[in-house]
């Protein structure tokens, strides 16, 4: 059964709650109203001809531009070897959606992950807790506007990047080199030592390790 026939059956059963099959490049999908999602899924699973018994994946996509979090259902039928992509749009500020845990038990963990990483609240979910992030984590990482926490309970997860530090020292040295070469002046003035990072870099200019410390 091709996707068009499945969509036709859906359209005929649910009327305008089910949008048309999309024409975009790559895989085509069907947009469904958020109140109807559980009925549509139950219909897909139980009607004899469709038998979408295998819920491959439930995931979400954050569209800040359209102020929408889109929940995507990849469902598949092992018997008839046909699949469908169903999308539901929920409001971005207070995303709530009915859970399809009743239809497929696989949804339990998939929805918990969406709740954890996107903040979509699934009503009726048996055990809606954060799954990947620690329980007291703030924010939902996979949202586009998520600021990286940079650490957890005071344990930082960033290390000063040696390359950035290095390039500062070499920039200064290169400026000194260019200044020394182009300016015809007799003695190039020693580089002004800025406060802040300069103190460390002035002494710690790592030339080739074999050089004695003195030669800068």
């Amino acid at each position: 059964m091709t996707q068009e026939e499945v969509c036709a059956q859906l359209k005929e059963k649910f009327g305008e709650a089910v949008g048309a099959l999309s024409e975009t490049k790559g895989d085509r999908f069907v947009v469904v109203k958020s109140e109807k999602i559980v009925d549509v899924c139950r219909f897909l699973k139980t009607t004899p001809g469709l038998d979408f018994d295998y819920c491959q994946d439930i995931t979400a996509i954050d569209w800040p531009a359209r102020k929408v979090i889109e929940v995507v259902y990849h469902v598949y039928s092992l018997e008839h070897r046909h699949g469908l992509v169903v999308k539901v749009e929920t409001d971005r500020d207070k995303p709530t959606l009915a859970t399809v845990e009743g239809v497929w038990k696989a949804a339990t963990w998939l929805e918990r992950e969406i709740y954890d990483l996107f903040g979509v609240n699934f009503e009726g979910h048996s055990d809606l807790r954060r799954i990947l992030m620690p329980d007291d984590w703030v924010g939902h990482p996979l949202r586009k506007d998520y600021q990286e926490a940079g650490g957890y309970h005071g344990i930082g997860n960033t290390r000063p990047d040696p390359l950035v530090q290095l390039s500062k020292t070499t920039d200064e040295k290169r400026k000194a080199f260019v200044a020394a070469a182009t300016a015809a002046a007799a003695a190039a003035a020693p580089p002004v030592v800025e406060p802040g990072t300069a103190t460390t870099t002035a002494t710690a200019i790592p030339s080739a390790a074999a050089d004695p410390e003195g030669k800068v």
Binding site: P160, Q165, L166, T170, T182, T200, A208
Partner: protein, 194 residues
């Protein structure tokens, strides 16, 4: 009842049969050669020479043939390579590379930088023993001193770039730096030096 008895003794015969087979297999291994390669000291030749040619070990850059195209810096997904180029003040046509640093402690040896390199300047050597006194020594500076920058190499059509044999520059550099801890680049907050 008969079924239970047959099953009861069936278990016993199963145990005897399967243990018999299992024991023959393990005893037979007493006569076979263990596969252990006794690295590091009981090998015929250096481990680095026994590795296959495509092995992706520590990165090495031969500045003589580097064209300064910065393709490797763009290809690296975790920005481990840092290149700075400049106009050579002495003759305006020639550009020079004043800084070519690779933070080998962060490099994940994925090989994406080696592919776009036109002259094969940057290559994975077969060296993998990179124990250093401090993690900062793993930041390899291929342009030793910004004051003697490396000029861009102009590849000659139809001729391979004359690259130094693989691993030579790296071994020399590692021999010098591995056991001498450089002053910490990361400033006072960096790892303590003994």
């Amino acid at each position: 009842m008969a079924e239970a008895i047959r099953e009861y003794f069936g278990h016993i015969t199963d145990v005897v049969k399967t243990f018999y087979q299992g024991l023959t297999v393990t005893l037979s291994y007493m006569l076979r050669r263990p596969m252990t390669v006794q690295y590091p000291d009981r090998l015929e030749k250096r481990m680095a020479d026994m590795l296959p040619s495509r092995y992706r070990g520590l990165l090495e850059v031969d500045m003589a043939v580097c064209t300064g195209c910065m393709a490797c810096e763009r290809a690296c997904p975790i920005a481990v390579i840092k290149i700075a180029t400049d106009k050579d003040p002495t003759n305006p046509k020639q550009r020079v590379i004043t800084q070519f640093d690779i933070d080998e402690s962060k490099c994940m040896f994925c090989g994406l930088c080696v592919e776009p390199c036109p002259t094969g300047a940057i290559q994975h050597t077969h060296e993998f023993e990179s124990t250093m006194k401090s993690v900062d020594s793993l930041v390899f500076r291929w342009v030793a001193d910004p004051e003697q920058p490396a000029p861009f190499y102009r590849p000659v059509k139809g001729q391979d770039a004359p690259r130094a044999p693989l691993g030579e520059i790296l071994r020399k550099k590692m021999a010098e730096t591995s056991w001498i801890a450089p002053p910490s680049i990361l400033g006072p907050g960096g790892p303590k030096q003994d």
